[in-house]
Symmetry: C2
Subunit: 153 residues, 2 copies
């Protein structure tokens, strides 16, 4: 008998760089000065399903697009960054058929409906300390998907 816990073998983690051109296309609706997501890569651990898929991003806000320098990363910028990495994640997952509940979308339909059909119902953001807006990192993932007749949460 041993006291060492044997963890089940996990499938290897795969990391994929997202093409800069794909990121650029997803961020097309944003004003040039508001494209804060600079680089993204996709992380997948297949045996964990949707929770095993994460989009990691490198962000930079040299100058805010809407206000003078506040001296810190702020809640509005957080929201813009959140949206940008969420769009890249959803766009990438749709392109690669990774979320069956979004099977009605193909890349063309995603880009057509990107702004009108993807809505935030609730947003909660909290800040423990000041973040340097010049360079920071963020990760986006989906915990659960619920499909309703007209809407997918």
């Amino acid at each position: 008998m041993t006291s060492i816990l044997e963890l089940p073998e996990r499938e290897a983690l795969s990391l994929t760089d997202i093409d800069a051109s794909f990121v650029k296309t997803v961020l097309t609706p944003y004003r040039e000065s508001c494209r804060y997501l600079k680089k993204a890569y996709f992380q997948q651990q297949e045996d964990l399903g949707i929770q095993g898929m994460l989009m990691n991003g490198e962000f930079s806000i040299p100058e805010s697009c809407y206000i003078d320098d506040t001296g810190h990363f702020n809640a509005v910028e957080y929201n813009i960054c959140y949206n940008q990495i969420a769009y890249v994640h959803l766009g990438y997952c749709i392109k690669n058929g990774l979320i069956p509940e979004l099977g009605d979308y193909d890349p063309d339909l995603f880009f057509e409906k990107q702004l009108s059909n993807f809505l935030i119902a609730n947003l909660n953001s909290g800040f423990q300390s000041l973040i340097n807006a010049k360079r920071f990192y963020g990760t986006f993932g989906i915990h659960t998907v619920k499909k309703r007749p007209a809407v997918c949460f």
Copy 2:
């Protein structure tokens, strides 16, 4: 005996238009195209203390400052509008000495520290239905103030 409940007499509600020039000064740090708060008026019911003070605002977003038209009022714009009316409320209350816990501030110090010293620790926004961004109304109020040695919540 009567079954009609007699409510205690309440002090009259006062309504004050906020000078357009004051709103303009408070919104100075915002890019011209991001000044969504168009008009504000202050509502006060003195016997209710801080909870009796509300800032009402008329907003308009003819064109988003950061993204192409999404067809709906969105969470980022909500956050910007929230900040603008909060700044007007705080600025007005400081100017008129209405919040004793902010007694260290006078209008000059408020405008000097407006961006650096006023921070969002938590933000929660929820949306039940689509809102027309071209014209809408909002109200800002403070429920409770807690003063700590270095911070006022």
